[in-house]
Symmetry: C2
Subunit: 240 residues, 2 copies
């Protein structure tokens, strides 16, 4: 067996309540780690504090990932693990490695023969998929769509076709200050029978999930989703 | 506001330990519900018992989903919720609505204007994605691939192309008794530089996650994954 430490992938809350969305076991592991790799040290410290650790935060060694970091820099972060210390990888919010720079750390860990342990926690993508009532047997998450209005309408139609062809749910996101614009564009561009959903403020008291065909969306006042974290989903396949 | 109850989507463990993978809050909600819609009543009772509820299981009303059920039957299941009772939707393992028949219940709930509340819990798809070190900004879950040997090899190459074209991680599953065959086929069929990962027995003590390029897979003895729950992942895009 390896003498190396393990790399724990530790999810962080996407809402405002740690105990609502993290299993005890995740907190227990968090509390016995001394070394962390994180997206932003400030947020990470704030999160760790919120879990009421027995030790002072100042005892912890926290390495901050930087978008423009060369991978050699990240390799140096993994030195404690090479010496047998377990480490934790934290994202800004949600699951590390999903739509964040943590994936690079995980890939390096595999290259070095380090055991990677993913822990359970909140993912807005998965919560949105569950709550949409759309096909969860086949789905694609696209990340951000292109910004240009003209391209966007074309891309939306392509997603609709892809959904129809493969009976596949399509998920995507937008910069939160552009959410309202995207929502209007979607309701205008998609076919009346296409199912469309938006999942906003997941795991927050203001959580709102609306899922219905476009022709019903066209009849109602659109919700104000400006600057609110949101996942967009569409499904144009056969009824399940 | 609506006088209807809410539909809680309650994940169940994929491993063998409830407290490892479910937040306290999920158990608290579970314990205050009287009505459930589940995939299999026997498994659901076993799971609920394992969370040490104060009340006897026999007090609960459990509706069992049936693959061949007409949707009118499912509508009848939602009657308690129409009368103001909250209900829980449970999958056999993991998150309801993702790769299980629960999505239909969720869709009906939306049609009836019922608030749907997704709760946090384990998803083997998401854990595998986190732990793969592959692109989590863009990914597709395909469910099961075709069984025929000839089609399978063709489909694997298509997935590789799709991954390359869209810088997209491709995830899929196989019937567990066919896992070893699929693994051999993958290692034989994909390009040497393609990254391939398998995540086996997630959330179990025997959890095994291996992620490396095909040329390294070809040099090592393949793990025995017969009848073990597994997620397969490949990535043929640019290095992240």
């Amino acid at each position: 067996m390896s003498d190396k430490g393990k790399l724990y992938l530790i999810p962080t809350p996407i809402g405002d309540n740690v105990t609502h969305t993290l299993p005890d076991y995740v907190i227990q592991i968090l509390h016995r780690l001394d070394y962390f790799i994180v997206e932003r040290a400030k947020t990470a410290r704030h999160f760790i504090k919120s879990t009421n650790p027995e030790r002072p935060i100042s005892d912890l060694t926290i390495f901050e990932l930087n978008k423009h970091q060369p991978s050699e820099g990240i390799e140096a972060f993994l030195e404690p693990i090479e010496k047998g210390k377990d480490m934790g990888l934290l994202s800004e919010a949600g699951c590390p490695g999903v739509a964040d720079p943590g994936a690079l750390v995980v890939r390096l860990a595999h290259q070095k023969g380090i055991t990677v342990v993913p822990l359970v926690g909140p993912s807005s993508i998965l919560l949105a998929l569950m709550a949409s009532g759309m096909n969860g047997q086949s789905f694609t998450f696209h990340g951000y769509l292109p910004h240009q209005q003209k391209d966007l309408s074309k891309v939306l139609k392509q997603l609709e076709q892809q959904s129809q062809r493969h009976q596949q749910t399509q998920l995507f996101i937008e910069a939160p200050y552009r959410n309202n614009g995207l929502l209007e564009m979607i309701v205008k561009s998609l076919a009346p029978a296409t199912q469309f959903a938006i999942a906003v403020d997941l795991n927050l008291p203001s959580e709102t999930i609306i899922s219905m065909p476009i022709h019903l969306w066209q009849k109602r006042k659109l919700p104000d989703v400006h600057k609110r974290p949101a996942i967009f989903l569409l499904y144009a396949g056969k009824k399940l």
